[in-house]
Symmetry: C2
DNA sequence: ATAATATATGATAATTATTATCATCGGCGG
DNA sequence: CCGCCGATGATAATAATTATCATATATTAT
């Protein structure tokens, strides 16, 4: 079982991109949480000497390099998370009160059913399906 | 079968909010498309004399009044759509090329399976589930 | 019907989020 | 060790969103 940073470094080097300490810090921050983080949360989770301009620039670089992916929810904030080839395929549980987001996984049988469901639904539209995400909304234990 | 505008007006009036021509135009624009629209798209779909400041203000008012809902996508744009009590429960089909979004519906059996799936997955987390959305990504017929 | 009151509107300014620029720094191959 | 190229931080610029305010329009009470 090869470590996360090793995998990321390998991928970046193959693209001619350095795995610097700033980038490592971003990956670490996103690896230590249970769900995607906003730019602000990432800023607070890292060394305060790293300015927003660098955070933004590096996040974008890592998204372009497919190490991170952007996520979308209703609360108008952009969130970043590790790409699925690093973190595994998962879905999201969103608290409608505090807006916290947690990752959840389905067992492979459920996952298969979900994929089938999507295929069926998209059949008529003529789309070539590449991915799917289930977003479940609710109130988290803390907010209840 | 009571009309859309009648339903909206009733709802707004009960909240002490007027259903003005600007607001009516926004609702109409969102009712004529197959998926959620960006602020820009909405601006272009309405009378050009209505300025962005009004569009933004009224969109927000309508979201607050639960007539519209916000959707945030991977392309970093906020999109608006009719709330589900007006448009019916649905999911989204997103083209990863042109970023167009279409609504799709599942048959009730599939919808039920999906709900069950979500419940099961969320069980361990202690959430009180209120809603779910399936987002299917792919390449649309036009972009293929 | 008219005055009084309250909400809506457009124009503009202010704020916030994001991206671009640029001079300097640091790792790496020669 | 030198020179090159990507990376960094500071700052400026741009884009997106929200707030302000004077005016206009609708609604209510008289």
């Amino acid at each position: 079982m090869v470590g996360l940073h090793t995998k990321v470094e390998k991928s970046l080097r193959s693209q001619g991109i350095r795995y610097t300490s700033n980038r490592r810090a971003l990956v670490s921050a996103l690896n230590q949480t249970i769900g995607p983080l906003t730019v602000d949360q990432i800023y607070r989770a890292t060394d305060p000497r790293v300015p927003f301009s660098s955070i933004y620039r590096e996040l974008r670089a890592l998204v372009d390099a497919q190490v991170l992916s952007l996520h979308h929810t209703a609360d108008r904030s952009n969130r970043f998370e590790l790409a699925e080839w690093l973190s595994g395929h998962h879905h999201h549980l969103v608290c409608v009160r505090c807006m916290a987001i947690s990752d959840i996984s389905l067992n492979s049988e459920a996952e298969h059913r979900l994929a089938t469901l999507g295929e069926e639904a998209a059949k008529g539209a003529g789309y070539l399906i590449t991915d799917h995400t289930l977003e479940i909304e609710g109130v988290c234990p803390t907010c209840r």
